[in-house]
Symmetry: C2
């Protein structure tokens, strides 16, 4: 029912994993991946579970039926309900391979405009059904799960039909864009104007503008414009109590920022329907280098100085020796910094030269370099940088294979201040190593910096551990909980850019001040008095609050 012309280029998505139908991973690639992972985990091999088929999945009958006035854009078809049951994280994939669809949504709505969104939300509000916004479905934290028995029905509202760039202001370099648009269609629409949002999270192909905003996504820029937050000029949001439109302003000092109140609200206040977004000129100049460090912490000092130099590299991914090996960006003996500058206006050689100078002060060795006079775009797609880039983009396509192996495989990311970087990182590594050994008998931790700030890095940890088909979900949960508990205890954040969802909700409650939790609850009550919007996200329903209005 979603307008696949505008959204999916006329193709059909797989109902259970990343990518389009027909885009299958070649068996040779699956085999070589299994071999590689088995070697790294020191296990003999894997018995892969078979990919799920739609007719293997049993769904309970829909508990509710949309009224005639909504029926033309709602469906209870099995395919649609299955697609909207799970996200794309490790946990989701394990459940999918288990064919475990105990709590699917009942109805999927594909509204074409705000009136239809309001009509669905009203229907849910009148009957006490959960109304669950859905962008691209790429959540890895349980961002759109149907709630349990508290609600008599669950309606997923898929923004797939609201997928257009509505207006481009090329003087202010902004565009008014519908929330349901996915990364590729968004960039295609802006390209003829010489503009780009340049927000490219790993989920870019199958995540939506509205989802990025609701979850405070981060992507592409390693410094400065890291999160989507800074690129939001103004929002329109349909809430159960009315439709809000903030004023389009480059900046203001009038009261607390009205857009920030919704950025990161994870659908709990209402549905972001469109946004005026700040854009960038398309990149004309590039200057890149890859720089090797013998010691992870020494290189981290160089990276810190770069982030405090106001050079603002677009790329500043710093991979430890294991991560560099994994991404084909190093030989496993050195940490590797992928340092890149880009501009729509001027050559960036002076910027890169200073960045390299800093690295050399810390013993960094330049392995590759390009800038004016070289084909920096080409270089960014070859060598260490190219390897990293293509692996990064391709990874979501392989996630399900890891779940099919019966191992544990997940990532977590955080942010904390530089003063405690080494001690927190060392303690995290200690606890995770211990947890992997205790729970799984071993495993691997890779780490990198994915985003950087003058006052601290956003370290990203990738975990892989042996397990079994029976135990992998429980092992994952136990290992993941060690990480989350450590982050909260050590003064870090439970998530830099994967959102809270249901996965991190118990930890988020410990991260924020209880008074702030009460502020969120007060806001939620005001906007969503029947507590129907994405229940279970952001804040818990106060005990005794009636669901129906």
């Amino acid at each position: 029912m979603a307008n696949t012309e505008g959204r999916y280029f006329g193709r059909k998505r797989k109902f259970w994993t990343w990518g389009y139908e027909g885009d299958d991973i070649p068996q040779t690639e699956v085999d070589s991946m299994c071999k590689r992972v088995a070697e790294r985990l020191g296990v003999p091999g894997f018995e892969l579970l078979s990919d799920p088929k739609l007719d293997e999945i049993e769904l309970r009958a829909p508990r509710i039926t949309p009224p005639a006035s909504l029926a033309h854009f709602c469906t209870t078809d099995k395919w649609d309900r299955v697609v909207h049951t799970y996200g794309k994280g490790f946990k989701d994939m394990v459940q999918i391979y288990r064919r475990s669809y105990d709590n699917p949504p009942d109805v999927i709505a594909y509204p074409r405009n705000e009136d239809e969104i309001r009509a669905v939300i009203d229907w849910c509000g009148e009957n006490g059904y959960a109304a669950i916004p859905f962008g691209g479905g790429s959540s890895v934290v349980g961002g759109f799960f149907a709630p349990g028995d508290d609600y008599d029905g669950a309606v997923v509202i898929d923004l797939g039909n609201m997928n257009q760039v509505l207006e481009v202001d090329d003087v202010s370099r902004c565009a008014r864009i519908q929330a349901g648009i996915l990364g590729p269609a968004l960039e295609n629409a802006l390209k003829p104007q010489g503009l780009t949002l340049r927000h490219i999270p790993q989920s870019w192909e199958f995540s939506s503008l509205g989802g990025w905003i609701a979850t405070r996504s981060a992507g592409h820029y390693a410094t400065m414009l890291t999160h989507i937050d800074e690129s939001v000029q103004s929002l329109r949001v349909v809430t159960p109590t009315g439709t809000l439109e903030n004023r389009r302003l480059p900046a203001s000092g009038a009261g607390p920022d009205p857009d920030r109140a919704f950025i990161g609200s994870e659908g709990a206040y209402g549905i972001i329907t469109e946004a005026w977004m700040r854009l960038q000129g398309r990149v004309k100049f590039r200057a890149n280098a890859s720089i090797a460090f013998k010691d992870f912490y020494t290189g981290a000092d160089a990276v810190r100085q770069i982030t405090q130099s106001a050079l603002f590299p677009a790329n500043c991914r710093y991979l430890d020796e294991r991560d560099a090996l994994f991404y084909g960006a190093g030989d496993g003996t050195e940490s590797v910094l992928l340092l890149g500058f880009e501009s729509s206006d001027h050559p960036m050689d002076a910027w890169l030269d200073r960045g390299i100078e800093i690295c050399k002060d810390y013993g960094g060795v330049v392995r590759q370099k390009s800038g004016t006079g070289t084909d920096a775009l080409e270089t960014s797609r070859s060598g260490a940088q190219g390897s990293w880039r293509s692996q990064f983009r391709y990874l979501p396509y392989l996630m399900h294979i890891r779940a099919a192996m019966g191992i544990v495989s997940f990532t977590f990311e955080t942010a904390y201040t530089w003063d405690k970087f080494k001690s927190v990182d060392a303690e995290l590594m200690r606890r995770m190593t211990e947890a992997l050994k205790r729970i799984a008998g071993g495993g691997i931790i890779c780490r990198r910096f994915s985003f950087l700030y003058p006052d601290g890095p956003s370290p990203y940890y990738s975990i892989m551990a042996p397990s079994t088909h029976e135990r992998s979900l429980e092992d994952y949960q136990a290992i993941s909980d060690v990480a989350s508990a450590a982050l909260v205890e050590l003064g870090a954040t439970v998530t830099h850019h994967h959102a809270v969802g249901r996965t991190f909700k118990p930890w988020y409650e410990k991260e924020i001040d209880p008074i702030y939790g009460r502020m969120l609850t007060a806001t939620k009550k005001e906007l969503d008095p029947s507590w129907i919007m994405n229940p279970g996200l952001l804040v818990d329903r106060p005990k005794g609050l009636k669901i129906t209005s």
Copy 2:
């Protein structure tokens, strides 16, 4: 009672205007200013009102007495109550010259710690007295006025004793700082560490960290780090329902940003007591130029391209021909751009060269230039830049003289998108010119860009018009209202960095979406159920809400 050692360097502030006692403006300077203003307004001259003396001011007796437990840090002395009645805007100054102190606060509290703040707030809450936070007292928008008869008493809580830098983290380049510290003491404390907040609004000498945060102040950086918002790492806030402390994080994607909810809350939610602030390395490299344009709008196009180039100049003040003349930065026939780059890390010549290249493409003529190999610091303090800089810093010292003249003199600033810059600016100029003629028989409008964003400028307008001692306040209000109404109607913001206060409150209500107003009200009710915190600011008390708890 305030600890003047730490805050005012052992000196005593004037009770009615900018500066310290003993720092008087030389009569020759007053005379020459009067002559200059009279010439510009085309009037023969002024009969200056005499400066107010404390014994000329009549105050009603305090309506309330602090309980014994609070008495040791509270006062009802006349001097203290007078100081805390008015801010430093034009309207304040006119009232002060009229010796019109109809509604002074009853008690001034000078807490030394959070416990004392909590005790005062509790006392106010129990009795339904207004609790009014006070930082440096530099508000120009009525940011801390005692409310009217709705409240049985008004207590100003002056943060003057909480004026210390408590902790410096020179690895992450941050400091934990008490909210009551003023600009000079703050920078003095950071200097030995080689660090600086580099937040320098025009009010810098007599405005406080807490005030900057509560009002979303902007200062120094023309691009990127314009508002204080981006420099706040985490806040502590004492609210009537408890003390909140946000986590110290460089960034997070977990829920809506908890600091942003308080930044710009203007004391209506509680009192910001301290903040971890992000700092900068001290400037070691400078590159500056002043560039003249024949036509304001053509130069504005150059400025727009610079702001969209990601060069991020620290200074990018663009003055129209009248503003340039006024600040001694031009001869009155040309618009002048003061373009400056600075760095703690590397020479900025490449940055400046590219900025100048852009200006030349738009017909800009370089009048002055300095960078590596020249004394750029010296240059920034001489010529057009030096003139602008010293005038800018000195201006608050002269404000009261304008009020004493019996003229109308005020400024307003806004921000809106580039696509409508010329049409909105032209319409504003048309309406203001008409209003000046109709209300005051004439007057002058100067304009400049003070802060800039890729998607729009923050234009700043200075107004001066002939009036009389009897009429100046009413003329000011009428002219100011024409400006505010135009901003709201034309899609701009009513304030870029002077806060809403009481002055712009009626216009702010039109600027924001009513649903956002309800969100602010819900938050206020949750934090301040007795509605005692800075009443009249941010949101109105809902009808029927009891004041006492």
